[in-house]
Symmetry: C2
Subunit: 457 residues, 2 copies
């Protein structure tokens, strides 16, 4: 390996030299519509997996396209020396659906405009995957003593239903020192963000049946039970919809207190309430106090109702009392809430309030809390500072990433989020894009991080 300074000295020239190759490789990937949500895309997903495997083989990796009952996982290994430390790079190559009507340019055509790249999957997550790949090539060609595993998933956008199966199957080959996930979004362009936590999820369907057919609200209204009304009542016993406060006793008991330093980091991320409202197109919020908003998303659990099924939905009013109704609800959970304990608490509470309600689980994810301090986090901080000129803010994400929780369970290694997407990249939105400055900065960031890792004992 070169000295660190020699390594970095050649980096800018390398980055300039690979720009065309990056754009060509990204274009080829973008033009394969790997939409995991659409069953008719099965063969495109296969095509995407093969192209990705080819990119990894060019790099010198041993690659396997690991089948699952759903879409495969592309698994590449580049072992320089078994004694070297190993980093696992997680990205995903499946993309969200795209409605061409909503796009300025065709979503599956790669369009380049002044260093900005348009197309479904550019920022989520094909661009960052290729950015990491080019950084690996530079690091290894320059003798950085590191083994690299690539895990490129193709079911991330559908909640990683088969990812645990993949982990189970390849368990023995997956041993790693650290995992780098590059699939997150900064909060503002001018401030790198490193998330170190994710909320968990507990989804429930609550069903209440009080009859077998629609009843006439005139002929039966009064003595007839109304399952929609009773579910509304149950929901309001579980939480206060206006404030969001959960009313189930014990629900907040294990919520880990946020330190002042954590909160300072959240606020320093560039979070802006007005931009938050604009991006998500909210006309109002429960609160516009930045501290409460930021804490509400990053560090507090929620209770949410997603829909109520049953009853009449057409125009005007049809005066029926429906025989049954179903409420779809979920809770976002935070460290150190335990999903099973919360499930017990909530189920008992619901049974005590309305014993006729049938509770079904629909989705479970543990909350995740990774390192915020310590060597791996410090290395990430230095890499971001080196690449983008600014200390990153450490934040937590309000969402949940299934694959992360699964990797934590199987790999038992620290997971570091080195994301490159920006709010203006239109994650999951029409006109999704990525850009060359984030690519160039990203290569720098990864190379620095790899060099740093390789020097750890």
């Amino acid at each position: 390996m070169k000295t660190t300074s020699a390594l970095f000295r050649g980096l800018d020239a390398y980055i300039r030299s690979v720009r065309e190759e990056f754009e060509e490789k990204l274009a080829a990937l973008i033009e394969i519509p790997t939409v995991s949500m659409e069953p008719e895309r099965k063969s495109e997903i296969e095509r995407g997996a093969h192209l990705a495997a080819e990119y990894l083989r060019e790099l010198g990796a041993t690659v396997e396209i690991v089948p699952t009952p759903g879409h495969p996982v592309v698994f590449g290994r580049l072992i320089t020396d078994p004694k070297n430390p190993t980093v696992t790079l997680y990205n995903h190559l499946d993309v969200q659906p795209a409605d061409p009507e909503e796009w300025r340019t065709p979503p599956f055509t790669f369009v380049r405009e002044d260093g900005r790249y348009f197309g479904r999957g550019t920022t989520d997550d094909k661009g960052p995957a290729l950015t990491a790949l080019l950084a690996v090539r530079y690091a290894l060609e320059n003798g950085v003593p590191l083994n690299v595993h690539f895990i490129w998933e193709l079911e991330e956008e559908i909640g990683s239903p088969n990812f645990a199966r993949f982990m189970q199957k390849k368990r023995k080959q997956l041993r790693t020192d650290v995992v780098v996930v590059s699939d997150t979004i900064w909060i503002a362009r001018n401030r790198p963000t490193i998330p170190y936590g994710l909320r968990g999820l507990l989804g429930l369907t609550l069903t209440l049946e009080t009859g077998k057919k629609d009843a006439h609200s005139g002929v039966t209204g009064g003595p007839a039970r109304n399952p929609i009304g009773e579910l509304c009542q149950l929901i309001c016993e579980c939480y206060d919809p206006r404030t969001g406060r959960v009313k189930i006793p014990g629900f907040y008991d294990d919520v880990r207190k946020v330190t002042r330093r954590e909160l300072e980091n959240y606020l320093a991320s560039g979070f802006d309430v007005r931009r938050f409202m604009r991006v998500h197109e909210f006309t109002s919020l429960r609160t516009t106090d930045p501290v409460r908003v930021v804490r509400g998303i990053m560090a507090e659990p929620t209770f949410e109702v997603h829909g109520i099924v049953g009853g009449y939905r057409g125009p005007g009013i049809k005066t029926i009392i429906p025989p049954r109704a179903e409420a779809k609800v979920s809770m976002r959970l935070v460290p150190d809430q335990d999903v099973e304990k919360i499930f017990r608490l909530v189920s008992e509470f619901i049974r005590s309030k309305n014993p006729d309600v049938v509770i079904q689980r629909a989705g479970t994810l543990r909350p995740y809390l990774g390192p915020f301090t310590g060597p791996y986090a410090d290395a990430a901080r230095r890499a971001m500072k080196f690449a983008f000129g600014k200390e990153p803010a450490f934040t937590r994400e309000g969402g949940s990433i299934g694959a992360v929780v699964i990797m934590e369970e199987y790999l038992r290694a620290p997971i570091i989020f080195l994301g490159l997407s920006l709010p203006e990249h239109g994650y999951h939105a029409p006109n999704e894009n990525y850009d060359w400055p984030q690519t160039a900065g990203g290569i720098k960031m990864f190379v620095h991080y790899f060099a740093d890792l390789s020097q750890r004992p």
Copy 2:
């Protein structure tokens, strides 16, 4: 006119003699599917109107098929002498839709089995209409000094949207002394029932918009408002879904107290809680105390939620926060609640709880209270006793009949309900039927009522 006793002496023989004619006429009407709810039935409705007009002309009536922006009204007049009292017979000839899959016999084929007649519309309301017609013929042929108006509506099953237009148009020819509505159901076969009241209706849609697109409940949950949750909360502030008790201040102020005699009548109607549950296929009720059930339907107002639109309804859970939701609610109102006053009360209450909710009216019907005592009610009581051997119970209906409230407003005459349908006739249900005993008894009842009316000064 014959003496009353001579009039009644020939009645049984007449009834026997018209059985075949009744069945043929009913068969012809049933086999025209006059489903007012189905736009493609427009020409069937026209055919039905023409056949009905022919029946009335045979009787000697002057008939007009009065067009409206929707389906027409068949209006027949039989004026024996302008000095005679006039009775208006209201029935409807449109029917509910019928799904042949659910029927034992084809719904629009007239099937006769041991004096029972199957087919959509047999009991609701073609059978009762023809029963009244045959009674009119006997009464007039035997010199009962009475003028008769027939109003045969063809939009009853869709809420009589154009009935007021018809009334307005024909206002001058509609003057009457009394209206007889034959479109109600006894509570048990062994006890005739005469309803004298109907609940009113105030329908509302409550819409709340807090954003413009689906939001991710992880990325935004906490500060994001949830319009479904807030509507659930508003609904539970309006009423207690478990008990049905309305919580809006002042809501019960004008509810007329039910007298002990009224309540005794309700209970004497043969109302049975277990049968009520079986017929409407309820698995449980708010209460099974017969007094509370009967009072709840006949004499108390309600608040009901019919559906909540917005959010996710597919399988499992989709963790979105929807941008808007709409609750469809209605209140059944009882005498002497005033619809406009209640609307003001409810609107102000909702605004005070959640000012962002947009309130839209969707349907208004005043509650109706007709004579329970007095000459027209007494005549009805005697007619029922004469025909069926038992004093009728005077009850109130939990539902609302739009045409009744409209007739009350335009005709300003007492409205008497002389219904003939039985619970086992399957009103609005598959295998709807009517029967000869109710027809025969019905002809007797009408003839007695007409004779009684004609003798009033």
